[in-house]
Amino acid sequence: MNKIRLQICLPVLLASFFLLSCEKDEPDKTASMSGLWIQEKITVDGVEMVLPDDAKSLSLLIEPNGVYRTYAKDATDKEHFGAWTITDNTWLEITADTWRLNANPLTQTPANQWAKNHVLTRFTVLNVSDSRLEIRLKTYEGEKKYSALFVEESRPLITGDNLDKINEEYKTLKTYIYTFGKEQTN
């Protein structure tokens, strides 16, 4: 009798395990990320930034193949792109064009004062729904300012007057929260 019970219960338990493994406790953020998002606002340490015109109209297209593209119609460098992924259903990791100061920039020619890299940046996904995306980034002020996150700002010519200020920007941590609204596409 016990043998019969085991023969019935074991497969049923196995079936339940496989079925439950398909379910997730939290909604899958990866599936919700895809679409065309329009940047609405950015806050820095809780205070809303005054966005320049080129950042007001920023479009962020996230596609399910792991590639994103941005377009800022009024910016000099209108388009940027990179890779994206969601890890632990919590973090949005993207690769983005980033500019950093070369060593001893004052001794360099203007063209060699800044170096471009394409590096990984990690955001925390605060909220993603059918209509809204909120992501948080804690980083150095200079990293945000001189990276394509998501509009690339012009980089100043480094002089003895502004070098200390820019170095300070790369030592000052800030928390940025980006809010996007979703555009319906076909």
Partner: protein, 139 residues
Amino acid sequence: MKIKYTLPLAVLLVFTLFPACEDKNETEEIQTNLVGTWRLTSVQTDGAATDIAAYAGFIRLQENRIFLSYDATAGVLTRGGWSYEGNMLNISTDLPAAYYVLRADGKTLSLKRQDFNPGGGLTITVRDYQLTGDEQIPE
């Protein structure tokens, strides 16, 4: 006799339910149907047809993930690679843009692509293809 059939039936139940979690077969089927040499038959941009009567375009998606594009009108052959990831067709020569596969039934192929327009919105381009012979693309 009753006991004899209980275990196999229960095991069968497990294996019937388990594949419901996977969409692997569907992906593999699309990948298989993408392979071939395709002739461009129509292009629609935001729903409006583009006149391609004077243009002869071909693409080939090879099983070894090599991609060929041949503009027969200009006689230009372009080579690249392709993959099917995240339910999108990625063609190395067109990245960062990629294609949504609207139809891939082995005989016809329909690909959708999104690009930014000057206003920051999206332009949708749909390209339809028909399966043709490999000889259409010179190597």
